[in-house]
């Protein structure tokens, strides 16, 4: 260090000793400051990691889903009207076809309550998808087709291990099953080793135990013993899970998926009809009351339309304002006033812009509610001050020598500004604009005020059709009761964050591209 360079052991009480002392203190201060800086960064990084980590850990299960594939017979009798007219075809009763297909998987089940439970494995809303597929290809009428649909959200949660703890016990020997007369219950005889192992896995708790054998499934009514009473869930005979016991740690009353549904699901899984897949519904579908069908597509399109309106309004107006105020406007009381007001505008809470939008655009000008046009206008008002302020800062940062150089060879003010100053300020202006837009992309409150919180079943096709946006969609899902929306909320947050990262990456890219040294 520099200390070593100082003459060591100088005998005279010269000023160098004092300087040395001061120098050491100065270095200490610098080291301290660096430590503070590193500590601050470490805290920030840790907080970021925790945030992203918690969102990702919640969201990742929403990016894949279990699909139920059924052989559906497209029954011509259930399609009234002209079978070559797509509109007529879509009016067909595809829900019943789906139900019949599902019932066909377990034909022995005749109890009505059980059948209702069975049909709850997939929502009736899937019939619309089937109807569209048949309408697109009327040749399918009368055929049996393989139709894939997302399994019910509660079953999906069970399959992902979120509904209950699951423990599989392999049985060494197939239990001897003696069904009673009405087929509702059966006496099960387990081998001593199997009975002991099940009892072991069960422990002290009182969980549900489902024994699978020969394609059938029974729920044990009492403790696992060599001879046990079992309620029949699935009649034996068809292919299914072989010789296993499933121990569910959460009692049936405490979960939204019943033992019978679990037995059917496991049997379907064993038959290869239930498989995990990438959750395309999350991206391709619009919002739905059924979490397994709900997707962000409408919100994404809404966000894109809204951002387009915001961009088209806020960026040109903001940049032009910045250029005028910075380069052309005389510096007087009026421009000072304008400047102060722009700065204040940037600090106005965003919901106030929503109120303004409601009062002016919707109530006074009569623009449509819930439309991206109004949302974009409101967000443009909110973004303008940011664009103006960052644009002015970027223009200010261009060295005055460039301006002088242009003026001195006889360029007019406009030529100097647009030919020399603006290109140099462009990276800064664009970064500021994109950051402003990214802010607008994440804005919720003002859009709630103008009705963009409505349930939107169809993706918007233009700036005047009803729409919602990503952050509002997140808000809607976060306040929904279904547990499955929790993961989807987190997934939507990740999609929104990716969108923002994409925008910021674009900002960096543009910055690099336009950046020139001077």
């Amino acid at each position: 260090m520099t200390d070593a360079a100082l003459p060591a052991g100088a005998s005279a009480p010269d000023p160098s000793a004092a300087i040395k002392k001061r120098l050491a203190a100065r270095y200490r201060a610098e080291r301290r400051f660096r430590a503070y800086g590193i500590a601050a960064i470490a805290v920030a990084v840790a907080a970021l990691l925790v945030l992203v980590g918690s969102i990702v850990s919640q969201a990742y299960s929403a990016f894949w889903t279990y699909e139920l594939a059924l052989d559906v017979t497209v029954d011509p009798e259930r399609i009234p009207g002209d079978p070559s007219n797509p509109a007529d075809i879509q009016r067909g009763d595809f829900g019943v076809m789906l139900q019949n297909a599902l019932r066909g998987e377990f034909p022995d089940e005749t109890r009505n309550a059980r059948i209702r439970e069975l049909l709850a494995l997939s929502t009736r809303l899937n019939s619309a998808t089937l109807g569209r597929r048949v309408a697109d290809n009327p040749a399918l009428i009368g055929q049996t087709i393989r139709f894939k649909m997302p399994i019910s959200d509660e079953v999906d949660r069970y399959l992902k291990g979120q509904a209950t703890g699951r423990d599989w016990v392999r049985l060494d020997a197939a239990p001897a099953v003696t069904p009673d007369a009405d087929g509702e219950t059966a006496a099960l005889r387990l081998s001593p080793a199997d009975a002991a192992r099940i009892a072991d896995a069960v422990g002290d708790a009182e969980p549900s135990v489902i024994v699978f054998s020969n394609g059938g499934a029974w729920r044990l009514s009492g403790p696992a013993a060599q001879t046990a009473e079992g309620e029949q869930l699935i009649a034996p005979g068809a292919p299914g899970v072989e010789d296993r016991a499933l121990i569910l740690s959460t009692p049936e009353a405490d979960r939204r998926v019943s033992d019978a549904q679990i037995a059917w699901t496991e049997t379907l899984r064993a038959r290869g009809d239930v498989k995990a897949a990438f959750n395309t519904y999350l991206f391709a579908n619009t919002d739905s009351r059924e979490p397994e069908l709900a997707g962000v597509f409408a919100a994404l399109m809404g966000s894109i339309f809204t951002m387009l309106v915001t961009m088209v309004l806020a960026v040109p107006v903001g940049v032009a304002t910045a250029i005028y105020l910075e380069e052309f406007a005389p510096k007087n009381r009026w421009t000072d006033l304008v400047e102060v007001n722009i700065n204040n505008l940037a600090a106005v809470p965003s919901i106030v812009f929503g109120l303004l939008g409601l009062a002016v655009f919707i109530n006074f000008l009569g623009m449509p509610r819930s439309a991206p046009l109004v949302g974009g206008l409101v967000l443009a008002l909110m973004t303008l001050p940011v664009v103006i302020i960052s644009g002015r800062a970027a223009l200010k940062a261009v060295p005055p020598s460039i301006r002088e150089a242009a003026l001195a060879v006889g360029a007019s003010r406009t030529q100097a500004v647009f030919g020399h100053v603006l290109p140099l300020a462009m990276p800064g202006i664009m970064t500021g604009s994109i950051i402003g837009l990214a802010q607008a992309l994440g804005e919720t409150a003002p859009l709630l005020m103008i009705g963009m919180v409505a349930f939107v079943a169809d993706a918007p096709t233009g700036v005047t059709s009803p729409a919602t946006v990503m952050p509002v969609q997140i808000f809607i899902w976060a306040t929904s009761a279904e547990r499955a929306f929790e993961a989807r909320t987190a997934a939507a947050i990740i999609i929104l964050l990716s969108l923002m990262i994409l925008m910021n990456a674009a900002a960096i890219f543009l910055r690099r591209k336009f950046e020139r040294r001077w």
Binding site: P330, K331, P399, S401, I402, R403, E404, A405, A406, L407, A408, V409, G410, A411, S412, Q415, G419, H420, L424, R516, R517, W518
Partner: protein, 284 residues
Amino acid sequence: MNDREPGGHAAPLTPPTPVVQTHDMHGHPLASLPVKVCTRDVDVFYGDKQALFGVSMDIPDCSVTAFIGPSGCGKSTFLRCINRMNDTIDIARVAGSIEIDGANIYDRGIDPVLLRARVGMVFQKPNPFPKSIYDNVAYGPKIHGLVSTKDETDAVVEDSLKRAGLWAEVADRLDAPGTGLSGGQQQRLVIARAIAVKPEVILMDEPCSALDPIATAKIEELIDELRENFCIIIVTHSMAQAARVSQKTAFFHLGKLVESGPTEEIFTNPRDERTQDYITGRFG
């Protein structure tokens, strides 16, 4: 690039203007040089603060006039009056008259943009545009419509760079950024940019203060050559430089023009005590 070079070296380095004799056999300036810039009672105010007080002087054509004086005395302010660069400062206000070739440049009918095409300026810190060397030089002629074809532009660029003594160094890299040159080269590029619009007067505000001695010598040599065709006004804080390059010198102090006259007289036989003190280094 080579393809920009019009056939061989036929193009003359300087236009065939007759060499104006500026000194007699003893080195004294000839009185016959026409007056190019004539200022009367020029006052400049920055807001309430007066920076120049009644400056009246005649600046001859085809010669170098040097402004000297302690810093803050108003040399740059006066220089910037001559091409109305002070117009770009909101708080600056100019009174009095400045005539170029007998026409007051502060008259209502004078467009400062056109004026600046006639009065070029070189600044203390080299300020090439962040563009190619070629575009730097071609910019002025293009915006003033002095050139219309690519060939004409090429010719003007080459001619200007040659006159600025930079052609040999950059002929093979006209597409390289002007900001990538050395400080001295940048300053010569800026001079080339200024002479490309064929000005009559060139103002230079301490053009060498950011340069090393070798680059400075080159610029001084260049100024001496340019003198034949332009009226050059140079602000300098180096009295040696003023003595080397100028024929006329004006000494400013506290916003006032103390005295002006042929350079040799100012340096050998100043009439004012303050001039005496300044050139002998008693204050500065």
